[in-house]
């Protein structure tokens, strides 16, 4: 087993909402970690950390020039800013749900 690291120590992120769709862009602090991010921050892992929201499709877009990945998660916001009973109706805080992931350490 590799050592696990907290994504938050290696990347920064911001979440956005449109209706019931969450988007989170995640950027490696160190450009040298971009390939690691691509390899480890998979659609499956992101879907896993939001599974309790009964999410729909997750898409991932690679941005090599910016050293980042953009995730678009359907049905992640319990109805979104106009319909969710949740405390964070926008889902603004969910960037940190991703940053809370533990991943195998970069080599």
């Amino acid at each position: 087993m590799n050592d696990q690291v907290l994504l938050c120590d290696y990347a920064h992120a911001r979440a956005g909402d449109k209706g019931n769709i969450l988007s989170v862009a995640v950027f490696a602090y160190d450009p040298a970690h971009y390939a690691w991010l691509v390899a480890e921050l998979t659609v499956e892992r992101v879907a896993g950390c939001l599974a309790h929201r009964r999410i729909g499709r997750v898409r991932r877009y690679e941005l090599p020039n910016l050293g980042g990945l953009n995730f678009v998660v359907e049905n992640a916001l319990e109805g979104g800013v106009n319909a969710s009973p949740g405390i964070d109706r926008h889902g603004k805080s969910l960037s940190y749900a991703l940053l809370d992931l533990r991943l195998p350490a970069p080599s």
Binding site: K18, S23, F27, N65, G68, V72, A83, S84, P85, G86
Partner: protein, 448 residues
């Protein structure tokens, strides 16, 4: 060669009205063409504004529009800096009439005020019936189409000092001034995409200049309490830098710019606006010097054939109540309160499923079924301060009032030591989106 400086003084309706003063002063001291815009609309804002207009025909613009305009108005008018805003919301002409009245008899009585209208389809009868979704959950209170920069260009070309718009797309607030200043053609897709990227980076105001970014120990932001408004500087050849107002806090770094560049973007190769299909997939950022970042590699493709519209819907209510437990056994007492409320709700409103958070254990990441909370409870240590929050969204306002009062009754009927009950009930306006051919929507410029 012309240089254009565009500053953004607000990123949403409840942003800080005093922030734009340093921005206006900075812009006034710069050479070149200068513009200042305020972005004051969100998905729900127009529905709320339309309700205010229905109650009072001279209302319906952004509630704080004049709080934003007043601190910078004279500086901008004196320096020849046009102000552009979508804060006209549901009633740009009422805002224009008030502004005209305010300027009357003063030094700037001759200022030219333009309104860009045509986005509001609420009273458009046939057009609406044809393009609106067939089933809508609630009473329609607003229908607005995201329109592009054409009206702003027209107004600025004709000499407008202040342009008050309704629902133009946020980045169009920068596309308009750039097309006007450089004479860029509406179908010069790469240029329009560049202008759209400028608007997109600026439209949330300080979110590109150090706001919504700081994480002590990982991402430091100097003088966050005084975070400054952003300024984009654009050259005719398409070079763009993002900076911020002089003498303010915050920072503009590659990291702040990257976070904002992708903010609310889905496919980076195809960000759709009324003006263009913007392609950010090859974008690069480069720190030129402290607080100045250059953007390049933005490409454009033809704009979509259809415009997006939003219907504002009335009918639902958002209800929340909270109570706190602290000290020894805080968690077991809060968890018991949760069980009590679940049983009470099953009796009083069996058709409703309450959303329950235990703030301090699980709330922001929680879900409608409480599965996240359940998982966190399993490995929660011993929190000494837990706040229970129960909430609902439903059409039955009276029932929700009853349920909130029932939560408050935990004071006498719940576990020991509960305190700090707060109840909140507000209208929960919904939205539904639709698409409409751009030929069905006519933007117009009106003068006041």
């Amino acid at each position: 060669m012309t240089t254009v400086h565009i500053g953004c003084g607000a990123g949403f309706a409840n942003d800080r009205p005093d922030a734009a003063l340093a921005l206006a002063n900075d812009l006034a001291a710069r050479d070149g063409r200068r513009f200042l815009f305020f972005e004051l609309l969100a998905e729900r804002t127009l529905a709320e504004a339309q309700l205010r207009r229905l109650a009072d025909a001279e209302s319906g613009y952004a509630t704080r529009l004049f709080d934003f305009l007043e601190p910078v108005l004279e500086t901008c008018l004196a320096a020849g800096i046009p102000i552009i805003t979508n804060g006209g919301a549901a009633n740009p002409s009422a805002a224009a009439r008030r502004l005209r009245q305010q300027l009357q008899g003063g030094r700037f009585a001759a200022a030219r005020i333009a309104c860009v209208v045509g986005d509001d389809l609420l009273d458009s009868g046939e057009v609406l019936q044809r393009w609106l979704p067939e089933t809508l959950d609630g009473q329609v209170v607003s229908v607005n189409v995201y329109t592009g920069a054409d009206g702003i260009v027209q107004a600025l070309d004709a000499g407008a000092d202040i342009v008050l718009c309704g629902r133009v797309a946020d980045p169009s607030l920068a596309v308009g001034p750039l097309r006007h200043a450089f004479g860029w053609q509406a179908e010069d897709w790469d240029r329009i995409a560049l202008a759209t990227a400028v608007g997109h980076l600026l439209e949330c105001c300080t979110q590109v200049s150090g706001g919504y970014f700081a994480h002590p120990g990982l991402k430091e932001v100097p003088d966050l309490a005084n975070v400054g408004c952003p300024i984009a500087t654009v050259q005719a050849d398409g070079r763009v830098t993002i900076g911020k107002a002089a003498g303010t806090g915050g920072c503009v770094t590659e990291r702040t710019v990257k976070e904002q560049l992708l903010y609310e973007v889905h496919d980076p190769a195809a960000y759709l606006t009324p003006d263009v299909t913007m392609d950010l997939s090859q974008a690069r950022v480069r720190q030129v010097c402290p607080d100045l970042v250059e953007i390049e590699g933005i490409r454009g493709h033809p704009r979509p054939a259809e415009l997006k519209g939003l219907v504002g819907l009335r009918g639902n209510w958002f209800a929340e109540a909270e109570i706190s437990y602290a000290g020894p056994g805080a968690l077991v007492r809060a968890a018991l309160a949760r069980d009590v409320l679940l049983q009470r709700c099953a009796r009083l409103a069996p058709q409703l499923t309450p959303w329950i958070d235990l703030i301090g254990v699980a709330s922001l990441f929680n879900d409608a079924r409480g599965e996240w909370l359940q998982q966190r409870l399993a490995d929660a240590r011993d929190p000494q301060d837990v706040r229970l929050r129960i909430s609902f969204v439903d059409a039955d306002k009276a029932l929700l009032e009853t349920l909130l009062l029932d939560a408050e009754s935990l004071y006498t009927n719940g576990p020991a030591g509960g305190g700090g009950v707060r109840r909140h009930l507000s209208e929960s306006l919904g939205t539904a989106s639709f698409f409409i051919p751009r030929t069905a929507v006519q933007q117009q410029v009106e003068w006041f």
